[in-house]
Amino acid sequence: MIDPIAVFILLLGAATPILFAALGELVTERAGVLNLGVEGMMIGGALAGFAAAHATGSPALGFAAAAIAGVVLSMIFAALTQFLLSNQVATGLALTLFGLGLTAMFGKPYEGVKAPTMMAGPLGLNPMIWLGLLMVPAVWWGLNRSRPGLILRAVGENHDAAHALGYPVRAVRIAAIAFGGAMAGMGGAYISIATVLQWTEGMTAGAGWIALAIVVFAQWNPWGVLAGAWLFGGVTVLQLRLQAAGVAVPVQLLTMAPYLATIIVLVLISARQKYGRSGGGSAPGSLGKPFHALR
């Protein structure tokens, strides 16, 4: 029969890239910025991380390069949306397309090249799995128990009020966007350096979109993000494991399950809001709205 511990270990690996990207996006969104460019930043990180790991032979340097690549890509988004006040949805989509195209072009020399092998961390798990898991309480604490987190949430809930109180709305948002970029970049690099061990064009295959869905599913709560990432990762791993164990599984049904779960969560939340029960919807108040200080 299927060993649940073995499945859980595979699940942790499958969930890690989306966990990283979703935690980053969560912080960005809590600051009131909707960045749909997660997929683009992930693929950028996947290539930069792979290239750096291949050149230096060090996966750790690879992840550092991936974080930097994610930040660089996110700063394009930041410049366009925070200074030029462009539409966040359109700019984010453009960033995704840009990232996919750019990496397809610069990734050509890395096709068919092998990555250096990674050292296993505690319990034989990849160190990045541990880092991802540690980031969950860290992000929760940072947002809910620290002063910078309080300011970040204030900026995300009501940027005019935060501005009136003298907080630097734009600077806070740029920092949040950069954090999102770094996390997405590392999530992408996990796919190229730790899972697949090689570079191929478009290899993130929609993980960035799943990360965006998970943030909504999680209702902007880091623990919910962890649950969502495990749900998505678990379904992927479980359907392959069930097949290997010779169980007839409706693959298509299992593949759509996480998306169905997201829709159901959204429906439940809006139903709760409609019938006046409070405490439900927790989307940041200024999410996706451009901010321009008049005075």
Binding site: D3, A6, V7, L10, G13, A14, K108, E111, G112, K114, T117, I191, T195, V196, L197, Q198, T200, E201, G202, M203, A205, T236, V237, L240, R241, Q243, A244, A245, G246, V247, A248, V251
Partner: protein, 358 residues
């Protein structure tokens, strides 16, 4: 004014009628669409090697272009149309899923010759070609059956289509012949090329106790996973020699160059006809890559003897007595499967316990 228009159109007409005459001296333009990137190190890489072999063979007489990473579906039709409109007179569509797109586009361009790999739909200007991969599967299945210590061998399938099912059956029949205790685990990833998913599928097989597996997907990701976990695997479509001597202990190589060179030659001398070609080990289209030193000498000799027997036609991988998975009779003692039966194969043979996806 009128006379000028008349003169103009006459000139245009002349130019148009003169064009075919010029075309005779022009290079034969040949287009390719690939399902993956040329750097996949597997299926598409081999097709591109054959394209390069064409350029070497015919030099100035031909000119080739390719479009890579074309998704199967509506995009394929657009890519094919684009190749047709840009003057290619011969087009190779190198994936099963391009079948309907190729037939549709071929209807619109009756003077262009199309070659579709691994499909079964032909037309006046659409030929099909395929390789008897199952012959190679028989050889690596034998090696897998001998090399497994857990008596569990695995198979990463792309889509449950006859070409892939033949491979699973052939590998299982021959593994079972040398190791009666062998069990076959199958995982379908529903993609030809998705490195992350292929790697996850390999991990799932390894977690299930599989220590030797085969793949019918195009990337080297499963071999990278095998290396990490200490399992064994085989090069698929291409030699994948970067992973030799272990985890890659042998490989099935598709060598399309002889076929491509023959067919382009036929277009050049005007003898091209639409037909279906299905060549195997004996024709040099399916090649078994070097069996590495990880494999004991007697197993290597056994595999090579089987390869020789298949090449000479002495052994057919699907020879009775064989039953279907549900226990019903398929082939009687000594009876060989026909090509029609093989090209429509949608069942496992007896002994495989994995369920067939619906």
């Amino acid at each position: 004014m009128k006379r000028r228009t008349l003169l103009g159109s006459a000139a245009a007409l002349m130019a148009m009628s003169a064009m075919p005459a010029f075309a005779q001296d022009e290079k034969l333009k040949i287009g390719f669409i690939y399902v993956g990137p040329v750097g996949d190190g597997g299926w598409t890489y081999q097709h591109d090697l054959a394209r390069q072999a064409l350029e070497k063979e015919y030099g100035d007489k031909i000119e080739t272009t390719f479009i890579e990473s074309v998704p199967e579906g509506a995009d394929a039709e657009r890519a094919l149309t684009q190749l047709a409109l840009s003057g290619n007179k011969m087009i190779f569509a190198t994936s099963f899923g391009f079948m309907d797109a190729t037939i549709n586009v071929a209807k619109k361009f009756p003077d262009i010759k199309f070659e579709h790999a691994t499909g079964y739909k032909r037309a006046e200007n659409v030929a099909t070609y395929d390789a008897r991969f199952y012959e190679g599967r028989a050889v690596i299945g034998t090696i897998a059956g001998r090399m497994t210590k857990s008596n569990k061998i695995g198979y990463i399938g792309s889509f449950p289509i006859p070409e892939v099912i033949q491979g699973i059956n052939s590998a299982y029949i021959h593994a079972k012949k040398v190791n009666p205790d062998v069990e076959m685990k199958v995982v379908w990833v529903y993609s030809w090329f998705d490195p992350a998913k292929e790697a996850d599928a390999a991990a799932a097989l390894i977690a299930e106790g599989v220590d030797v597996f085969m793949q019918h997907t195009d990337s080297t990701a499963p071999l990278a996973k095998a290396q990490e976990a200490g399992a064994l695997g085989f090069g698929q479509a291409s030699d994948m020699a970067a992973f030799a001597p272990s985890p890659r202990i042998a490989s099935i190589i598709d060598d399309w160059s002889p076929y491509y060179i023959k067919r382009v030659g036929q277009v050049l001398d005007g003898t091209w006809k639409s037909e279906g070609t299905w060549a195997g080990i004996g024709d040099g289209e399916v090649v078994i890559g070097e069996i590495t030193e990880v494999v004991p000498a007697e197993v290597k000799a056994e595999a090579e003897a089987l390869k020789a027997a298949i090449a000479s036609g002495e052994h057919h991988p699907f020879t009775g007595p064989l039953k279907k998975q549900d226990g019903s009779d398929w082939l009687a003692e000594g009876q060989k499967a026909t090509d029609e039966e093989l090209s429509g194969m949608n069942f496992y043979v007896e002994g495989i316990t994995a369920p067939m996806p619906k």
